[in-house]
Amino acid sequence: MYKLAIIGYGAAGFAGMIKANELGVKPVLIGKGEVGGTCVNVGCVPSKRMLHVGEIYKVAREVTGSEVYPEFAAFREKDLLVQEMRKTKYEDLLSYYDVELIQGEARFVSPHAVKVNGKVIEAEKFLIATGSSPLVPDIPGIGEAGFWTNREALSPDRKIDSLVVIGGRALALEFAQMYRRMNVDVAILQRSSKLIPDWEPEASIEARRIMEKEGITVVTGVRVKEVRRGAGKVVVTDKGEVEADEILLATGRKPNVELGLDNAGISLNERGGIRVNQELRTDNPNVYAAGDVLGGKMLEALAGRQGSVAVENALTGSHKTIDENAVPQVIFTQPNFARVGLTEVEARAKEGKMESRVLPMSSVAKAEILDARDGFVKMVTLNGKVVGVHAVGENVAEMIGEASLAIRLGASVDDLVETVHVFPTIAESLRLVALAFRSDVSRLSCCV
C-alpha cells in the first residue's frame, strides 16, 4: 500500500508530488496524456507565446508602416518552447524527485483504491488533480460541422482567414486577439450582454472597446441556435448569421470527474467539481482534491498552491487553507486585464464603509511614455483597507501581485501611498490610485 497516490500530473499534481517529497514521502503519480497537463501543453504557455508573437508584429507594423503579420508557421515554432518547458519543468523532475510514475487512466474502485491499466493501486491518502476539459455546449449541428477548442486553436491544421469565437470571457478574448493579429477576421459571439461579465463593469466596457479597436466584431446578448455547413461554417443566432472558416468554442471548462467517484464516497459541488472543505478534503477523509477539478477559479498558480496545501494537510494532518480573496487573475491580451479581491458591488455588500477610485491609465507617466493610454486602475477599499484592485493596461499582469500582497497583509490606502514606487512604471499606478483617495491626481506633478 502506498502512502500517497496522486491522480493527474499537471500543475496541482506536480506541486503535490514535490510537497510529498519535502515531507519525506514517495508518492505514486498517475497520469494520462502529455506530462505536465494543460498549462504547458495546451494552455498558458503556448497561448502566451502566441499572444507575444502578435505583439511583436503589431510593433513591426507600426514601425515599418507595412502590413506584416505572423505566418501560421509560428504555431509550430511555439512547439519548441512547449517541448523545452515540458522537459525542464516537468519531465526532468520525474527523475530528480523520488516518485513512481504510472501512465494510464485511474478510476476509484473502493474508498482507498484505484484501478489503472487493470492493476489495483491502494493508498492511505489520495490527491485528485485531474484538471478540466473544454465544455462543449449542446448546439444543434455543432458536432457535424466540427469546431475548435483551445487545443486545435493552438495547433491549427490549416491556415484560416476567418474565425467565430463563441464565448466572451478570458479565453475568448485571448484567442480573438491572437487570431486577429494573425490577420484573421474575427467575430466574438457572447450570450450575456457584456464581455467578461463577472469583472468590474469598467473592465467589461474596456474589453469591448479594445476588441473593437483591434477590428474584432463583438456581438453580445446573442443566442446561438444552430451551426451548419455552408461555404464555410455558419453560426445561426437569434440575431442573424455569421459564416467563417472555423468556429472556436470558448464557452468554459468542465472539471474532469469521470473517475468512479461514487465508489469512493466523493460527491460533487454545484459547479460540477469535486466538493471539498476549506482544507481541500473531499467527503472521503482520506481523499483530497486540487486544481481545476474543483470547478472554481481555474488558474495555474492556484492549482499549484492547492496541490501543495492539500498534500500537506493529507500527510501531516495540518489544517492549512488558501486565502482565495488574494488570488489574482489576468487576461493576457494587450493591454492586460488584471484583478484581485472584491469588486465594488461585492465590497458594498459587506459591512463597513466601501469606497472606490478609478484612475485612467492616461494619468500614469509610464503609460504616456509607452504611448499606451488605454485602460485604468480601480481600487476598492473597506474601512480604508484595500480589498480589491482591478486594472486594464500595458503589462498590468506584472503589478497585480503587489495588489495581492496588499490585500493579503491587510494594507491600507496610506500604506500604498507611503511606499515609494519606481518612476516611471505602470506599477506606480497602484500608488497613484491610492493617492486618488486623498487628492486629485490629475493636479499633481510627476512624483508626489
Binding site: V164, K194, P201, E202, V219, T220, T237, G375
Partner: protein, 57 residues
C-alpha cells in the same frame, strides 16, 4: 473565406447607457445594482431615471 456577417448591426454596437443611449467608456461609466442586476449608465441621473421607471410600472 472572409468573415460573412449577416447579423442585425444593432446587435453589434458598443456598450451604451441603458437610459439615454450615450456610448459608455470606463471614464463616464456609472453602475447601479437594480433588482439584483448591475445596470450600466453614463451618470447617476440616468440611473435614477431608470430606477424610477422600474418602480412606476
Amino acid at each position: 473565406m472572409k468573415l460573412n456577417l449577416r447579423i442585425n448591426p444593432e446587435a453589434s454596437t458598443g456598450d451604451k447607457c441603458e437610459t439615454c443611449g450615450k456610448p459608455l467608456t470606463s471614464e463616464n461609466l456609472y453602475t447601479r445594482r437594480i433588482g439584483g442586476q448591475v445596470h450600466y449608465f453614463c451618470c447617476s441621473h440616468c440611473a435614477d431615471a431608470f430606477e424610477k421607471n422600474q418602480h412606476c410600472c
